[in-house]
């Protein structure tokens, strides 16, 4: 139903905490089917940006529109129903549930059984519905290659597996837009390769639009369609990966190197 226009449109978003300006007038848009990365040094406001999209923060000013609809004032759970899923930078699994239940929670907004017919299980159709959704969850489990830990308690898993389960949980939402906050942080090379493959598959085969924050430049430059760079809450560059890499503001933000070009934020580095 959304053929025309950007799937995500951020217009002049600012976010202020007391005296701290986490974001200053950031605007960008993401087209359907894109794999869009946000990069920037620590504290640049990347996660704040993602929180504004997923609804954990409400921007101080500016608007967030999703599929042409203004979602700025909506709560996170309403945005999830519209089709925004996300993973967290710091692991946020439901630690005492098993992996399968964690993923089934992702189906929450698609399931219809409730506190009245759920307890009647065998009679109100709840069982049938649960099993249908279980089938979808198993597809996600197969896709992310976590079938061996399906019944393990999420809190007992290793870091790399937990990251993968978190991705599975977000995928189970069947979102149109998936926000990934540092999906590869703290992983070894092999795990990173796996994760990069999953992200590309999600984007190309599952048809999800991906917005990703990542620090590993190699991965970002390899798999992104477009890249945006934030520094101190401001957008300093946006474009194709190669263009961004060549941008002198970006180099300065990351490396702080002396440029013959004059700019007023030399003290930044």
């Amino acid at each position: 139903m959304t053929s025309q226009g950007p799937i995500l449109q951020i217009s002049d978003v600012s976010l202020v905490f007391g005296g701290v300006r986490a974001l200053s007038d950031v605007s960008f848009s993401v087209q359907p089917g894109e794999l869009f990365s946000i990069i920037g040094p620590n504290g640049a406001g990347k996660t704040s940006m993602l929180n504004c999209v997923s609804g954990r923060y409400t921007p101080t000013s500016g608007t967030v529109s999703f599929k042409g609809q203004d979602v700025t004032g909506l709560k996170p759970n309403d945005r999830a129903e519209l089709g925004i899923g996300r993973t967290f930078q710091n692991l946020a699994l439901f630690g005492h549930m098993n992996v399968l239940d964690n993923i089934m929670v992702g189906r929450h907004h698609l399931l219809k059984n409730n506190v009245f017919n759920g307890p009647l299980y065998w009679f109100g159709g709840a069982q049938k519905e649960e099993l249908e959704h279980r089938r979808f969850c198993e597809d996600v489990i197969d896709f992310l290659e976590i079938s061996h830990i399906r019944k393990a308690t999420a809190g007992t898993l290793s870091y790399g597996l937990r990251k993968r389960v978190e991705l599975a949980r977000a995928v189970a939402l069947r979102p149109d837009l998936i926000l990934l906050d540092e999906p590869m942080a703290g992983m070894n090379l092999e795990e990173k390769e796996d994760m990069a493959r999953f992200i590309i598959d999600l984007n190309e085969e599952w048809g999800m639009t991906v917005v990703m924050i990542e620090h590993d430049m190699g991965v970002v430059m390899d798999i992104s369609n477009r890249v945006m760079v934030l520094d101190f809450g401001r957008k300093i560059a946006e474009g194709l990966p190669d263009e961004v890499m060549a941008n002198k503001h970006v180099k300065k933000a990351y490396l702080g190197e002396e440029d013959d070009d004059t700019d007023d934020d030399e003290q930044v580095a």
Partner: protein, 357 residues
Amino acid sequence: MAGFSMRPCGDFRTTYRQDTRIFDTTVVRNAAVLGVIAVALIPFVLDGYYVNLFIQISYFAIAALGLNILVGFTGQISLGHAAFFGFGAFASAWINNTTGIPVLLSIPLAGLMTAAVGLLFGLPAARIKGLYLAIATLAAQFILEDFFARAEWFTGGSYGAAANPINVFGYEIYDDFSFFYVCLFFLVVMYLLGTNLMRTRDGRAFVAVRDHYLSAEIMGINLTKYRLMSFAVSSFYAGVGGAMYGHYLGFVSAEGFTILLSIQFLGMIIIGGLGSVKGTLMGTVFMVLLPEVMESGVSALSVFDWASSTDVTDGLAYIKEMAIGLAIILFLIFEPDGLAHRWQQIRAYWKLYPFSY
């Protein structure tokens, strides 16, 4: 659920239906069915004392399951559970006395009324958590206690309210023998409903809210809705348990529903295991039987000459109270995860014997 499977070799599951059963294996299920049948035979085999104990266990266990849904599964806290328990008792008597709706129906209706009251007193939970919420629910306890004393139209005030016996198809249930089966029926039904709730959408949402409310919200769970719903479900169970208590005694008075009982409910679920349906039952059995066991231990001592003087028997009564406290403390130190966890350990031991892994 433990990280490893307790299934025997060769028990392969080929459908999701098999994999979502309440009981792990057919052996366990059959054992549970046999257990229920064995319990059903109690009135024929054992005397009235044990029947009475079972009846106590069943109404407390139903109410305690409600508290466990709130505290153990949703991670909230309530110090006012006894007040909801009492409200259910009064509500059922009131419905039955004023409208003539049969008791068997007025019990669940009282549950629904209590759920509405629980929803009201759960409203602070939309905003506050932890110790602050505990104090807010403490207010519920005292407000309702005061209400019981003052609302004469509803509770009969200081006189209390008469609760009619259960009437099944024109047959009135006065004695423990028949009431026992009513209790068994409600106990099994309420525990099945609770178990089913926890394996469907809203039960998972409760646990999600407990484990990580921020990501629960991102997953599309409306936090306010589920926090309040948890209070409502919890109060429903308390109301049903309370209504059974009222109709069992035949008379409801406000004195019984103090904060002491609220804390006993908390004791039941902590000892049984927070976040475990079967643990709730175990904890209730433990809390109801412990004083009885201590009592019989003390009376067994009275065969000795030195224990027959009044000084000693008085002392033993105190020792009994202290021993109950001590048992609970020791329990919390050595088995903080509750009886349900210990049961899991015992099963694992037998399953894996002679290896411990």
